[in-house]
């Protein structure tokens, strides 16, 4: 049994029904003797690049303790589910669940990032 975390991005049009997604994946994990320890909905965030013509996505983070085959099964389900744009599973830090870093100020932060990206273009990128 290992602690894993899976981050997945859902199509913004499916965002209102996000609970169904979480519920479904929870069943998958529990069906493989895993226990879901933490669900963190980051909400609708700007994507760093467009995926499926979308510039926004709904991010959800699942943390669970399970055998490895639960990950296999979960990822299979994520692939099959329409509306899941991206997913990423990693072995989580045993030290404990980290706080969600990007809640709330995501929109604001992206804006400043874009601003500095523009500024960077004038200067050129370090090419002396």
């Amino acid at each position: 049994m290992t602690l894993y975390e899976t981050l997945f991005v859902v199509h913004p049009e499916r965002a209102p029904r996000i609970k169904e997604f979480v519920e479904r994946f929870k069943k998958v994990i529990e069906g493989q003797q895993g226990t879901l320890s933490h669900v963190d909905e980051w909400g609708l965030r700007d994507l760093a690049y467009r995926i499926a013509k979308q510039s926004k996505g709904f991010y959800v983070l699942l943390q669970y303790r399970s055998p490895a085959r639960a990950v296999e099964e979960l990822e299979r389900n994520l692939r099959l589910t329409d509306g899941v744009l991206r997913y990423l599973t990693v072995r989580a830090d045993e030290a404990g669940p980290s706080e969600s870093p990007a809640k709330g100020h995501s929109g604001e932060q992206r804006k400043t990032e874009e601003g500095s990206a523009m500024a960077g273009e004038d200067r050129g990128e370090g090419g002396h």
Partner: protein
């Protein structure tokens, strides 16, 4: 809004000083790996606030030669950046618009 102006980034701090090479310059201040200095600072692909400090405006990773990161933390940072890119938390590149 200008909470993160480019000037505050690690690789901007020492402009042309780098060219002389560290040994020839007595004023050279040794760069310390930020993650070694502050053990509470964790490298996590979800924490784009921290990670984006080690990425250029174009989305490229800054070399440890410039940031002063140690090899171990640079390695962790590399995987974190790559993970963040794959879930669209960080850009692979900034397209010209």
């Amino acid at each position: 809004m200008a909470q993160r102006e480019p000037g505050s980034r690690p690789y901007r701090e020492r402009g042309d000083d780098d060219k002389g090479g560290p040994r020839r310059r007595p004023m050279f201040r040794r760069k310390v790996c930020r993650f070694c200095a502050d053990k509470t600072l964790k490298i996590d692909y979800k924490d784009i606030r921290t990670i984006s400090q080690f990425v250029t405006e174009r989305g490229k990773m800054t070399p440890s030669r410039i940031t002063g990161n140690c090899a171990h933390h640079q390695r962790l940072l590399t995987t974190a950046i790559k993970r963040a890119r794959s879930v669209a938390l960080l850009p692979f590149t900034t397209a010209k618009s």
